[in-house]
Amino acid sequence: MKYQSFVGLEIHIQLITETKVFCSCPNNFGDEPNTNVCPVCMGYPGALPSLNEEAVFKALKVSRALNCHINEKAVFERKNYFYPDMPKNYQISQFEFPFGINGYFDLELDDGSVKRIRIHDVHLEEDAGKMIHDAYQSRLDYNRAGTPLLEIVTEPDLLDGREAELFVQQFRQLVRYLEVTDGNMEEGSLRCDANTSINLPGKGLGTKTEVKNLNSSRFVNKALTYEIKRHAKVLDKGDTIVQETRLWDEGSSTTRSMRSKEDSHDYRYFPEPDLPPFRPDAALMARVEEAMIELPNDRKKRYEAELKLTSDQAVFITAEKNTADWFEAVLAAGADASQTAAWLSGDIQKILNKEGKSIEQSPFTPERIKELFDLINSNRISNNIGKDVLQAIFDEDRDPSAIVKEKGLEQVSDTGAVEKVVEEVLAAHRAVVDAIRAGEDKQIGFLMGQLMKATGGKVNPQLAREMIVNKIKRSE
């Protein structure tokens, strides 16, 4: 393409908190409509906001993780516009002095290189309620009104739809790691507006358009790819881009105009007189610092370098914080990293996918898995029996040693007992024994199979194999 493109994102995340951001109603908007409301979040006359410090803490966590400068004095402002789902007809937000400014996020691109994306600011605000229209009426549910929303605004440092998609994915992983949001895009806990402009190389930013309410990272990519092409066609024809807000239509895979700049609101921001400026003190900042966990990318690198995991394993395990935390808990219980990684990305994941459970909710406690590994590594059960025991741990929610004991799954390693079975098998398959003597070593596998069949797989395979070979060779 002869043009250079610029993409910036505005991402809203719904913070997980006990209560709403300015009142003590539960932050739980899926409940029966208009049950989690009070004079404050319903905008009753005389009600005042009082700031929820848990929301502030999470806002600061995100600001810090995005390497922002933390404003010494964060100021809330009123953003004025009328909308039926907004009880006060102004939104308490931040404008000139948000919690975090001038940060960056290191984005990993498809070729493995890293691109630094500047973060303009991180600000805290309140969400609106929900308006539901049908043919005859509009109904309003204010359960969501006043729930905490964190907005992250990037500079237009992204190149195109694909980079924006990667940003959304990696950003989502980060905020889920920080445990500030569940990041569910379909349900709206992570919402994305994308703006883009194009220009001839070296000419700087062009006239931008914004696409609102993209609810998957794939749509972010598709909408931006469409917009950049559309801009190029307009410019190619010698026309100019109209600065406007557009909507993505998934059905037609196109964007359409929603409102032009002329129709845009003058929000008449001014400092919220009901909330004094917030000054994060040293104790709070120390708590934020303490909460700065290892971020996903760092963790992945450490798993590859120090634990010698394969890149695929490291990516898989660090994708979700709960998986990686579980993995480390198993290691802390004394298990081997490679063995844990292999089982985790193999059979454990298979069972969890099939049963639709997350690892921390499953019966797979780190202690049980370590115990299972011990049983295998000490040859008390075979690797294959181990897989059955794993399924039994899930099904029965019991410790592996108890399962092995009760079901009699322990390998027979007693020489006398093994010898007895080996002799029976050899006696039953004289022809095969003769073939092996004649040099067909492959047939040993057949005898092993018969042996396992006769014992339900419980014979220590190494011991049995040695014994078969010895017996056949000895009687030569």
Binding site: P39, M42, G43, Y44, P45, G46, A47, L48, P49, S50, L51, R78, N80, F82, P84, P87, K88, N89, Y90, M131, S138, L140, Y142, D266, Y267, R268, Y269, F270, P273, D274, L275, P276
Partner: protein, 461 residues
């Protein structure tokens, strides 16, 4: 039995004669929008400093059991679901809210004539206004209907009607009394205040209702300096161009009385005073334009009938629900907040705000308190014959300075001029309300507040 303890009879043994007395004044002055001593009696502790004392509450302050109309059609039938913290604190101290007081719609006015619901007259002369916006509160106290009533003071709305009716009127330090439950007009300027029949009762009510409140993040710890005695009183220079003849005469009397009582007085000027009214109206209307946006017919209050869309519902409700003065101030506030105009209006007003505070601070370096006029006139006649709406606004200069600076101010009844009471106000540094009460009590001991004709305590007998 102290006089205040006698008031407890109003809700006990003398309940019937009390109601009759209140009713007889109501016919003349109309201070109440709602009077019902039983409505919230169960929510009072019944014991404490103010045990079973009746009080009135300006109708922009929330009290469960009553409506809260704010003097507006848009909230005419609004049944209030909760109680303001300041009222709750008084209920804990035993006091009983008996009714809601008339006011200028949403506190916007100086006469109570801007109430969309009822007319209130001055107990001293019913052809005259009680002042505003807390006119109902001041009138009721002056007439002896209640010993005290809560008002709200955004630019003088407690002190000016107190002065017009001859009662004490306190605007406390900003942040000392919770605003939770006070319908917001101009949040950064206003406080809940008290109209009361004596200086001592004003103090008791203030003490009972103040305190840091988790429901109002702008409340602060009360931290007075401990220096309560007043020796030097600064006196603002005021002449014929500033005050009506009657008020000027009264002001001079007040100065003479201060000297007689042994106070050292020094005359001072406030260079910023001429800028405070424009600054006040910029900030007040800006905040009001946002504060009043919530009244849209959807969740409570008036809802326009037959609207086809949500936006039509909001528009028509606001069109028919708000009075002219309210619409004017919302428009002004919207105008001054437009992007590109904030430096010219809103930010400049904030600078004036800082400047007037600096003026006061400079004065309080060498004086313990400051005496100023309350209003350039005594109670004026209903309508615009004495003072137009614009003149009424310009006359806010003495009172609104305290709101811009966040400082405490107390209006004290001084003299009777041509049959009308005239008050004077005292100001002090933040948290130094006690100094104001001490000056007021010293004056009161020699020159107690006069009562209008028809005022009686006989029902208590």
């Amino acid at each position: 039995m102290s006089d205040i303890k006698r008031w407890a009879k109003a809700l006990t043994e003398s309940a019937d004669s009390y109601k009759k007395y209140v009713g007889s004044w109501e016919e003349k002055i109309g201070s109440f929008l709602q009077f019902d001593p039983e409505a919230a009696q169960a929510d009072s502790s019944g014991q404490g400093l103010l045990a079973v004392i009746p009080f009135g509450v300006k109708d922009n302050i929330a009290v469960k059991g009553f409506n809260m109309t704010c003097g507006s059609k848009i909230l005419e039938n609004f049944d209030c679901p909760y109680t303001a913290t300041a009222v709750e604190n008084l209920q804990k101290a035993g006091a009983v809210p008996v009714g809601k007081m008339n006011m200028d719609e949403f506190g916007m006015g100086s006469s109570t004539d801007n109430s969309a619901l009822a007319e209130t007259h001055n107990p001293w002369d019913t052809s005259r206004v009680a002042g505003g916006s807390s006119g109902g509160s001041a009138a009721a106290v002056a007439a002896g209907q209640v010993p005290f009533a809560l008002g709200s003071d955004t630019g003088g709305s407690v002190r000016q009607p107190a002065s017009f009716c001859g009662v004490y009127g306190l605007k406390p330090t900003y942040g000392t009394v919770s605003r939770y439950g006070l319908t917001a007009y101009a949040s950064s300027l206003e406080t809940i205040g008290v109209c009361a029949e004596t200086a001592g009762l004003t103090r008791d009510v203030f003490k009972a209702m103040r305190g840091k409140d988790i429901m109002d993040n702008t409340t602060v710890e009360y931290k007075p300096s401990g220096k309560d005695d007043v020796e030097t009183v600064a006196v603002l220079k005021a002449g014929e161009g500033d005050l009506n003849v009657d008020v000027l005469r009264s002001y001079k009397t007040s100065i003479a009385r201060l000297k007689d009582l042994g106070y050292k007085t020094v005359e001072v000027e406030l260079p910023t005073l001429k800028y405070v009214v424009p600054a006040y109206y910029v900030i007040a209307t800006a905040e009001a334009s946002a504060n009043l946006a919530r009244f849209n017919g959807i969740r409570y209050g008036l809802a326009a009938q037959g609207a086809e869309t949500p936006s039509a519902l909001m528009e028509e409700t606001r069109h028919s629900g708000f009075g002219d003065e309210v619409k004017l101030r919302i428009l002004l506030g919207t105008y001054v907040l437009r992007s590109g105009f904030q430096d010219q209006f809103y930010h400049r007003a904030q600078k004036i705000r800082t400047a007037i505070l600096n003026d006061f601070n400079r004065i309080f370096e060498s004086a313990d308190a400051l005496m100023m006029p309350v209003f350039p006139t005594a109670a004026f006649r209903h309508g615009s014959s004495d003072l137009t709406q614009l003149q009424q606004k310009a006359a806010d200069l003495y009172t609104c300075s305290a709101n811009l600076a966040g400082l405490p101010a107390l209006a004290v009844p001084s003299t009777i001029e041509e049959g009308l009471p005239v008050g004077v106000q005292f100001m002090a540094p933040a948290f130094e309300e006690e100094r104001l009460f001490r000056i007021a009590e010293k004056l009161e001991a020699v020159f107690p507040a006069q009562k209008p004709e028809g005022y009686s305590q006989e029902w208590k007998a």
